[in-house]
Amino acid sequence: MIDVRHVYKTFRIPHVVRALVDVSLKVEQGEVVVVIGPSGSGKSTLLRCLNHLETADSGHIFIDGIDILDRKTDINKVRAEVGMVFQSFNLFPHKTVLENVTLAQIVVRKRTKAVAVEKAMALLEKVGIREKANVHPDQLSGGQQQRVAIARALAMDPKIMLFDEPTSALDPEMIGEVLDVMKTLAREGMTMVVVTHEMGFAREVADRVIFMDEGAIVEEGTPEHFFKTPEHDRTKLFLSQIL
């Protein structure tokens, strides 16, 4: 489903940062991969390269067999198949919850309004905020906003979902409700790449855990392997700090 081969990414402004160094990664259909690592290790950059919000400098990234670094690829088509959930929700504040979930369906998928609304209501039901369909996002709690953001991404019927620290901006009591939605998704067989510091989530639903440091993948394995018998010193150090 996702095939990343020898990807490099260097930021030059404001100063030179090697954000990704020779990153290779494969994610199969239905797999849930959790990416962990210290701040600044390149987790977000990797995720953003996957839907071309950042452009990798070199290497290849195949999404469902399509080379997204090829100039001839219509990136908007690929992005429609890859949902993304951000740390800061990024809901559209001038639209109601319902409109947030229908907008891209209508504009990108060219669905009729009726079809889009039906789909949106079903998804809002699924994430448990059907009754808030007609309010604006600023009237929702952080947890509710993030669940709307997940519904918004799911409305496009994506093949892959990317989560960039979806619970980091939330009050502790709201983290559970968002993680529950993500767990349901994982159980339903969604292909997911999740950057998170929620080790409980990693342990429970991850098929594979990836540890990144300084732009490179340091260690990769099952949660079992990771939390019981980590190999690298840096992984051990990181886990000892976070657990």
Binding site: L53, S88, A104
Partner: protein, 335 residues
């Protein structure tokens, strides 16, 4: 301390004293001005002013040929007079009440068949109308130029970006008066001479004036648009693009609707400046409000009334516009 029951904080007596001071200063200034004009024997004649807005024009319909009034029929409110002499015949139309002849009357050329008065717009009214027209057209084009200029300014394409920067800096760095001269005396001469050589009709000065104003406003609007768009968090662009929207879709559905709220207030200021700046167009023979006032002053010799009036008329235009935009802003915030 007791909590106030109503939301209003009770005013202290000193407050009302200062309100009084305010009105005293305003009234004092007006009175002082009035007495100063009396000192130089200026005679205020406000009653002479309305005729420059609307006046009654006397219209006389005169016969062109000699003959008898053959027949008078009425169509709606009009009387149709048919004058016949042998084979030659002519028809004239006048309002029913204005008819001065009857069937069978003998008519000489130049005889008055009917006379009536009709209201005409005076020179000040025409000037006001022209100022409004020029401003509205310039605002519409200024907004269009500014929208695309602003988008080009934040584009990553160097051709668009540098063109936008060059345009904005050139316009903002030189006086509007000079720009109007360039549009009229340089570009206008060039364009009209070329058109004349091709045998095509000339472009009247009005359009060079409008172009100067629109381009001038466009540069400022571009900066307002740029600031408005950049004030929207980039997470909004990322969220919309990550859903598969194109640049244009993301702009239309997500970024611009949010940016408009921040753009409207400074835009209102820009529009008001534009209305006032249109007063410069008089120098290239466009008879807008200021030039019209100047012409009336030379014929009426009532400069004091007229210049105050001129200022009030601009105030009327700008005030109406800012009310309109405030209404738009409020409506936009609700939806």
């Amino acid at each position: 301390m007791g909590t106030p029951v109503s939301g209003k904080i009770p005013k202290r007596p000193a407050y009302y004293v200062w309100v009084g001071v305010f009105f005293l200063i305003v009234a004092g200034t007006a009175t002082a001005l009035y007495y100063a004009t009396l000192k130089i024997d200026y005679v205020w004649r406000w009653y002479r002013i309305p005729q420059y807005f609307v006046f009654k024009e006397k219209v006389e319909v005169r016969a062109q040929i000699q003959g008898t009034v053959h027949r008078i029929t009425t169509q709606n409110d009009q009387a149709v007079i048919e004058v016949k002499e042998g084979q030659a015949s002519e028809t004239y139309r006048v309002p029913k009440e204005a008819l001065l002849v009857a069937e069978g009357d003998f008519i000489y050329p130049g005889d008055v068949l009917g006379s009536y008065a009709r209201w005409r717009a005076g020179i000040l009214m025409q000037g006001l109308w022209l100022t409004l027209k020029v401003s509205v057209i310039a605002i519409v084009f200024g907004v269009l130029i500014g929208l695309f200029g602003g988008l080009a300014r934040i584009s990553e394409n160097p051709a668009f970006k540098w063109l936008a920067i060059t345009y904005i800096e050139l316009i903002r760095g030189s006086p509007l008066l000079v720009q109007i001269f360039i549009w009229y005396f340089v570009l206008g001469t060039l364009i009209n001479t070329i058109l004349a050589k091709q045998g095509i009709v000339q472009i009247p000065p009005l359009w060079f004036g409008v172009a100067a104003l629109a381009c001038f406003a466009g540069a400022y609007v571009a900066e307002i648009v740029r600031a408005g768009i950049q004030s929207i968090h980039r997470g909004q662009t990322e969220a919309s693009r990550s859903l598969g929207m194109t640049y244009v879709q993301s702009m239309l559905h997500v970024i611009l609707p949010q940016a408009v709220r921040r753009i409207l207030p400074p835009l209102a200021g820009q529009f008001i400046s534009l209305i006032k700046d249109s007063s410069l167009l008089g120098i290239i023979a466009i008879r807008e409000l200021t030039k019209a006032t100047r012409e009336v002053v030379t014929t009426s010799l009532q400069p004091f009334e007229l210049w105050f009036l001129c200022a009030l008329l601009y105030l009327f235009l700008t005030f109406t516009l800012s009310m309109l935009l405030q209404y738009l802003e409020r409506r936009h915030l609700v939806t």
